[in-house]
Amino acid sequence: MIARPSLSLGIEEEYQIVDPTTREMRSFITQFLDNERVIMVERELKPELHQSMVELGTPACDTIAQLKEELVKQRSFIIGLAAQKDLAVVAAATHPFSRWLDQPVTPLPRYQGVLEEMQLLAQRLLIFGMHVHVGIADRAFAIDAMNVVRYILPHILALSTSSPFWLGRNTGLKSYRSVVFEDFPRSGIPDICRSVADYDNLVGSLANVGVIPDASKIWWDVRPHHKYPTLEFRICDICPRVDEAIAIATIFQATVLWLWKLRRKNLTFRIYRRDQIEENRWRASRYGLDGKMVDFGKSIEAPTCDLIRELLEMISEEIDELGTQTYIAPIERMLQQGSSADRQLRVFADTGDLKAVVDHLIAETKEGL
């Protein structure tokens, strides 16, 4: 029997450190760096390739309520730390105008390695995501859930979009980050894995020949984590507002529970080809919540918002069971008013000033702390 997944939760976020006066990104991490790690106030700061980028992760949490508490603490911590150096924190997937070529790289050997391998592409990767972990101890079920859950990743990406600007320009896309990241190998929507053995073989093949050291270098939009007993969702742009980040985590958790219950009834959500799902992923990057996606079951186009409401309907029983109704509530507001990308575009339309967009993002990042 497949054990009920623990459904424990964790969120990793990548933050931008900005100068509140110029609104440009600023080097930050090296100011705290000691022996490759920074341990301050019982928190581990993970330096990233770019010095103006910081990653933080919550501890594993049993419930959404606890996760929210931890995420609020985490953001308060980094905002406080930055404030000590008169800097501010932005939780958005791209900086509206800072240039990636001007950003200094963190002087650690492993990043020199990444730079050496990925060259200009690594430097271009000045993008910020949110990774949500949901606890699934049973690996066979984790792979099964991964295959199925791929289908809804574009829908969730649409909700999280927060990167309409790049190098001072309106890209016309809602999530430019999700396009930039596809420059990397082993990224995007994964192909179908038929079994744990199939997945292990795939990773094993890559590791055997030395192209990757281990599964941590598989950067798919969803993957079984190589160390933790979790399924890791990596599709999302980082959300400026904490309540929206938590609402998305709530969907992931309930979806995993829903899939587990289907599985026990010998049912499954249909598994679609990667190319088909990529089509919707593209539409999410391009149009966000404002567009249409393909309902491959019916083989028709439908407004993305309608399809997300359908998804919420499908998992509503699980939401009730988990008691997370209040945490999912911001989704309806987003469906009506848009994602962060839409809000950023509105600020820009009103002010014509990308610095105002940065100010807006700084304010949203603090909201609800």
């Binding site: 391998e117 990925m118 060259q119 200009l120 592409l121 790049w166 320009r169 890209t171 016309g172 896309l173 430019y176 396009v179 596809e182 420059d183 190998p185 082993r186 994964p190 192909d191 795939l202 093949s205 890559l206 055997n208 020949v209 030395g210 192209v211 080809r273 990667r274 190319d275 088909q276 990529e278 089509e279 593209w282 539409r283 391009r286 249409k292 393909v294 491959f296 083989s299 028709i300 186009e301």
Partner: protein, 372 residues
């Protein structure tokens, strides 16, 4: 199963270069409808488009029965392009990217591309990248999908021979084919997944059209796929190659590989079908390191120098080159292996010129204009 004709069609894209500044002034692409060339210009000061309107150029390589015919047609087209460039005071370049042009493409592009532009927005605007498209006649559609599935494996190898875009926006990207990165940022590109048969492939395209994802099958631009209208398999993984002998050699290799895959099939054998991810890994290595790197031999799960693996591939397909009358063209592959691909040559020129991008443009132009 109807035996394929292995006909050849070559489609190219050319850059028009300002002789003093070496800037990109415009470029010429074969239009989707294949009956005309379309010029895109940088400034209003030039008016190539009008010039070309007087049908200076006889376009669309008609189908060639073999590589010898393809050679004649390619030379004729390139000669016409060269005259057209010269009569407008320009030079001609045929590389995957322009080394330093900051031109980001324009919105007033040809109508066929306008839809892509709306679809792909900013990504389309940064695609100033030029590719070589090789068509090989495979009339039986089931066979075409079968060959597509298996031939995906050797596309990274072929790309190693056909890289010519190490520079972008005046920078050494550190890659050999930056064009591949630019193209693969678009939806429906790169190494395709495998398909159970033509039905499945057609069903996939059909769904995209029916759901308004794409207006028609032309918007799908995988590295290899059956053409939506012509009875050919299209291979578009290669950068444009300045030296026409390289173009012919790569074309001959592609043609002979299709013949090899077909022959295996007829003997109830098949080259193994590998997962897209594994093939994509090799594509990345080709993009990054080109001929100077190693590729993974997935049969034995070991890395081997790309040049060794290409020599292995040559050994497999050479018997077919005899039948296809393409031995001398194929022999030029060995020259590329020893000399380095165009990207490696560009990097050598750049290094010995002390990082001067103009010298690189001069080299590309000289290679392109060497038609005789």
């Amino acid at each position: 199963m109807a035996y394929p004709s292995f006909n050849i069609g070559i489609e190219e894209e050319y850059q028009l270069i300002e002789p003093t500044s070496r800037e990109l002034l415009g470029y010429v692409r074969q239009s989707m409808s294949r009956d005309r060339m379309v010029v895109n210009e940088r400034t209003d000061a030039t008016d190539f488009a009008q010039q070309l309107g007087d049908s200076v150029i006889e376009v669309g390589t008609p189908v060639a029965a073999d590589i010898k015919e393809a050679r004649v047609q390619l030379l004729r087209l390139r000669t016409q392009m060269l005259h057209f460039a010269q009569s407008n005071g320009c030079r001609l370049a045929a590389s995957g990217t322009h080394p330093f042009s900051h031109w980001e493409g324009r919105s007033e592009v040809m109508p066929g591309y306008r839809a892509i532009l709306e679809d792909a927005q900013m990504i389309a605007r940064r695609i100033l990248a030029f590719g070589l498209r090789v068509h090989i006649g495979v009339e039986d559609r089931e066979l075409a999908v079968d060959v597509m599935n298996t031939m995906r494996y050797v596309l990274p190898h072929i790309l190693c021979l056909a890289t010519s875009s190490p520079f972008w926006n005046g920078r050494n990207t550190g890659l050999k084919s930056y064009r591949s990165v630019l193209m693969d940022a678009l939806p429906r590109t790169g190494i395709p997944g495998s398909f159970a048969g033509y039905q499945e492939y057609h069903g996939y395209i059909d769904t995209l059209v029916r759901t308004n994802s794409i207006p028609d099958a032309r918007r799908v631009r995988y590295d290899i796929m059956p053409h939506h209208r012509f009875p050919t398999l299209v291979i578009r993984i290669c950068d444009m190659l300045p030296n026409y002998l390289d173009t012919l050699a790569v074309t001959a290799l592609i043609q002979a590989t299709v013949a090899w895959m077909t022959d295996l099939r007829r003997r109830n054998l098949a080259f193994r079908t590998y997962e897209r991810l594994l093939i994509a890994e090799n594509k990345w290595r080709a993009v990054r390191y080109g001929l100077e790197g190693k590729l993974i031999d997935w049969g034995i799960e070991q890395m081997a120098p790309a040049t060794d693996l290409l020599r292995e591939l040559l050994a497999f397909v050479t018997p077919f080159a005899q039948k296809l009358n393409s031995e001398s063209e194929l022999a030029h592959i060995e020259t590329i292996l020893q000399r380095g691909a165009n990207a490696e040559q560009q990097l050598q020129v750049w290094n010995s010129a002390g990082g001067d991008m103009k010298a690189v443009v001069d080299f590309i132009v000289a290679e392109t204009e060497k038609i005789a």
